[in-house]
Symmetry: C2
Subunit: 191 residues, 2 copies
């Protein structure tokens, strides 16, 4: 893929937002990192918020695609595993975009925030569908799907706080560990 | 308890850090919220960072006390339940302190950061002890205690992103839901 100027701006901005935080990154910082003048940057994006918004949309659309691939897997346990692996892999491969999206939501204007929240809800709804199908198929216990979905996403999303790409473990491996834990539970059968 | 000036400063600062973020809150903002002059505030704390540090220490010491109460419960499953309830209850009752502590660590100087990380590690070590005892007693499966501990803390800590005190549900109830899920797992026995 040819990295267009627009793409380069988004990538440099996502890195800066992740390292320094959105509030403390200036348009000047983004222009400098991309090797552009502020005027050239404003040719591509009207504001810093628009950069944040586009990063968030791209991250969420990518995540949703992963979730939808998992949804097409007919066996509920395997679908859950694929969902968790896909979410974790996407996070690792698109680290700065993912972190920016998760941390940036509070800095968006109400209208843009509403649209990103709707995309997040769609991703979460896909997970709930997998859980619901598992319950209907008698594979999963009749748990509260909202609570269980939240538990799964909490484990995966909290990885932004401690997981660093390029370390000894792949994010997907962590996700598989969490999957085994949430599927089978801590308690020894018959204990 | 008589709210000393020092306590009032910490409380107002924690609220501001939670609402506006640490970086965007000024010493002037804290002084104003507490009804003090900047000079009076500097009489109590040498810097904004010192305020953040004291909030973080108080939050972590409180959390550790909750964890240690749980640790004194001999039955492993009950100890885990108490740990999760205690963590969630402390979070709800000390919302601004807890959120400030979790979000503020990256803004601390290396030396202060090291000390807060050591306290967090101590809290996590207490949880791992509970899990290890459960495995040794044959109550829990022989899971990776580091991974399982991380899963539990991820679920509880991610609550800072969505749970608001004063809503229809207590944080402890959410913790009990997570406990049931992590203990028994999603999979129906014999499925």
């Amino acid at each position: 893929m040819i990295a267009t100027t627009r793409t380069r701006i988004l990538e440099e901005a996502a890195k800066l937002f992740t390292e320094k935080g959105y509030e403390t990154t200036s348009v000047q910082d983004i222009a400098q990192a991309t090797g552009l003048s502020k005027a050239a940057l404003y040719h591509h994006f009207r504001s810093k918020e628009e950069v944040l918004y586009e990063i968030s949309l791209l991250a969420l659309e990518g995540l949703i695609r992963e979730g939808e691939k998992a949804l097409s897997e007919p066996h509920p346990s395997l679908a859950l595993l694929r969902f968790m692996e896909g979410h974790a892999r996407f996070f690792e491969e698109n680290h700065a975009f993912f972190v920016t999206m998760l941390q940036g939501i509070k800095s968006l204007s109400p209208e843009k925030r509403e649209k990103t929240v709707a995309l997040r809800d769609r991703h979460e709804a896909n997970l709930r569908t997998i859980l619901r199908r598992g319950i209907e198929a008698g594979v999963f216990r009749p748990v509260d799907v909202a609570l269980a979905g939240r538990a799964v996403l909490s484990m995966l999303n909290w990885m932004i706080r401690w997981f660093r790409p390029g370390g000894p473990m792949r994010a997907e491996e962590v996700a598989r560990g969490y999957y085994d834990l949430i599927l089978r539970g801590l308690e020894r059968e018959g204990a």
